[in-house]
Structure formats: structure tokens, C-alpha cells
Symmetry: C2
Subunit: 208 residues, 2 copies
């Protein structure tokens, strides 16, 4: 079983990162700490394979490079055998380099880190590379969440709305089917179901 620790003071973000870990490392134990002392205590009590840290913790100045690196140094020092990923709200290539020198394997900016991207970072680290993900000028697609739609239904609707113009629906069904390892007829069914629900709500987006 894998063991991971997330050190991050924003509760929702910490829980989100923990949830990401739970879905990409299946059968894993994930702990979370909102401050440095709690994190150090957990690292003392237990061995972790992976530690994800946001250097902007309470008690430190998130705009001070020294404070931030001190947090990283403390965490890495407390768990020298773990893989370490730094997750931050403000990217800084210099800081990324400094983290690397401290023994960190990945440096990821929160902006642009969306659901399901953590596995890519982990794969890169598994291959022995340093994973650097700075904020990218993002494709400006709005997210939409509707009542009564199931996760699968949301998924196919989102894929359908961000498809390239001219793409056949059929192709999107195939794409989703490939991604999930299911039948294309099933993704088509989810789409139809979702469409029917949205029609009933009177909230059918213009892409149909």
C-alpha cells in the first residue's frame, strides 16, 4: 500500500489534493496536515512514499523566498527517503531550481493543475525526471455543473462542449470510450441521457 502526505493550509485544496492522490494511487493511505508542526509529527510517526507540500504555510511569510525554502528544507529533512512534490499558487522558476537542489522531484503550479493531471506528474517522477509544471496560458473553457446529472453525464457533456469545431459526436463518444475502457454505445447513452435532462431543465447549452 502506498502512503502519501499532503501539507497545505487551505482545507479545500488539501482535501482536493488528497482526493486526487486517492484516485491515482489506488489502495493508498493519505494523510493531510495544515501546518508545519503537524506535518513534522506525522513524518516522525510514519514513513511516507510521497509528500506534497505547499510552502505558504501559516506562521511563515508566503512572499518571502527564505521562509518558503525553509519550509521545504524542513519537510525534506524530516522525510529524506520520500519523493517530494512542491505545489504552489505562484510559480517561480528560480524557486523551482532551488527546490530541486533541496531534493525535490516535482514543482507544480496550482493554476493549471486540473483533475487527473497528478498521475502525469507522478509518472514523470517515476521515470526519474524532474517534473516542472508552471502555469500555462489556459484554454478558457468555462466549467458547468448541473443538478441531476451524474458524473459520467457531466463528463461527456464537458467533452462534447470543448470538442474542436467540425468534430463528429460519434468521434467524441469513441474518445470517451477509449479513455474509460468502456463501450462507445455507453458513452452515447450517457450523452443522450444528459441531453434529455438538460432539455427538461431548459438549460441546454448552445453547443447542443
Amino acid at each position: 500500500m502506498h502512503r502519501a502526505l499532503v501539507v497545505e493550509d487551505q482545507d479545500l485544496m488539501r482535501l482536493a489534493l488528497m482526493a486526487e492522490l486517492r484516485t491515482c494511487l489506488r489502495d493508498c493511505y493519505v494523510a493531510g496536515a495544515q501546518a508545519l508542526p503537524v506535518a513534522c509529527q506525522l513524518l516522525e510517526e510514519d514513513q511516507f512514499d510521497l509528500v506534497i507540500t505547499d510552502p505558504g504555510l501559516p506562521g511563515f511569510d508566503p512572499t518571502s523566498p527564505e521562509d518558503r525554502l525553509h519550509v521545504i528544507e524542513t519537510i525534506v529533512g524530516a522525510a529524506p527517503n520520500s519523493a517530494h512534490i512542491v505545489v504552489t499558487g505562484s510559480d517561480d522558476e528560480d524557486e523551482a531550481r532551488a527546490c530541486r537542489l533541496l531534493g525535490v522531484q516535482g514543482y507544480v503550479c496550482k493554476t493549471g493543475l486540473s483533475q487527473g493531471e497528478l498521475p502525469l506528474v507522478l509518472e514523470q517522477i517515476d521515470r526519474g525526471e524532474f517534473s516542472l509544471r508552471l502555469s500555462k496560458p489556459h484554454t478558457p473553457n468555462p466549467d458547468l455543473r448541473f443538478p441531476t446529472l451524474t458524473p459520467r453525464e457531466h463528463e461527456i457533456i464537458a467533452m462534447m462542449m470543448r470538442r474542436e469545431p467540425g468534430t463528429k459526436r460519434r468521434e467524441v463518444f469513441d474518445e470517451m470510450a477509449n479513455q474509460l475502457g468502456i463501450n462507445a454505445a455507453s458513452s452515447e447513452k450517457y450523452y443522450k441521457q444528459a441531453r434529455a435532462k438538460l432539455l427538461k431543465l431548459g438549460r441546454l447549452p448552445k453547443g447542443l
Copy 2:
């Protein structure tokens, strides 16, 4: 049906806020935007009852008070009839006051905003008050997530581990039962189930 918009550039945080809204305003439609232009476009196309905004958006300097207030002003101006909540990583009481003057009803710091707290903010706003939640020196309880445990099982384990010393388990069962409107025997069952699973995993925390 309620309509809400979340303007936040960090994907996981935006999705988390949207999920929070979906559970506290049931039967609602929630949109999300990661940048100001997308947000303005959505506000033009549709009417929203509630808009949650993080003023640190791409294209603006998150450390510049002017940039931040400009973002808020633009959003409020684009949706003058909506309720507005500002969510930020760095609290600042002066900024909170400035936001209030711009027509914002709530100012919430991400640190200390945990799952299920958004409803309290919304209730306060419904009563016509200005909801101010700055970061608080938080109770340093680690989060724990185990494989194979269901949400209910995690819930009762978390409650059990953070109970005051001397509290009977029975009392915690009653507390959870009251919160969820279920039978105390059921919460007891969840606890027993969770305990059995943790024992089998060899990961039973010390509080038993």
C-alpha cells in the same frame, strides 16, 4: 433553481468550491471561470444569484491591492444584482472593508474554510449581515484518508479521533446521528465497520 458562478484560477480549488455550492444549495446550476474574460462573458449571458470570486486571477498581480480591487469591481459591475463573496488566500482586513464598499457581501479566507462551512457564510448573508471570515489559528488535527473506507466510515472515524478526552464513544455516535438525522445505531455500525477494516489493514490509529 439557484444559479452560482465561481471565478477562481486554481482548477482544484474552483472545482472544490463548485462542489461545496452543489451540496449546500441543492438543485442548483453552478458555472466556473478561470479568468476574468470568461467570467464576464458568463455574467453577460446569464443571471446569477451568487458569485464567488478570488481576486488573484491570471493577468493581474495578486500582490497588488489595486489589481485585486479592480478584479472585484469588474465582477461586481458585471453582476450588480448578484450576491458576491470574495475568497482569497491572504486575508487582509483593509481589503475586506474595501470589498464591502464595492458591494460585496462576504469576505472569506481560504485558510480555515473547510468542508461544509460555506452554508454558514450563506446563512449569514441571507440575514443581511456582512460575512467576514479571516484565517484563524486552526485546531491542528491531521486529516486521514484510508483505502476501502466509505465516506460515512471516514466521517465517524474523524469525529472519534478529534473527540475531547473523556468523551464516551456512545456520545459521538449520538452526535453524528443528530447531525445526519439518522439512527445512532447506524453510526455505531459505521464505526465498527471502519474499525474492523483498519484492523485488517494494520493501520488502526492510536485513539482506537
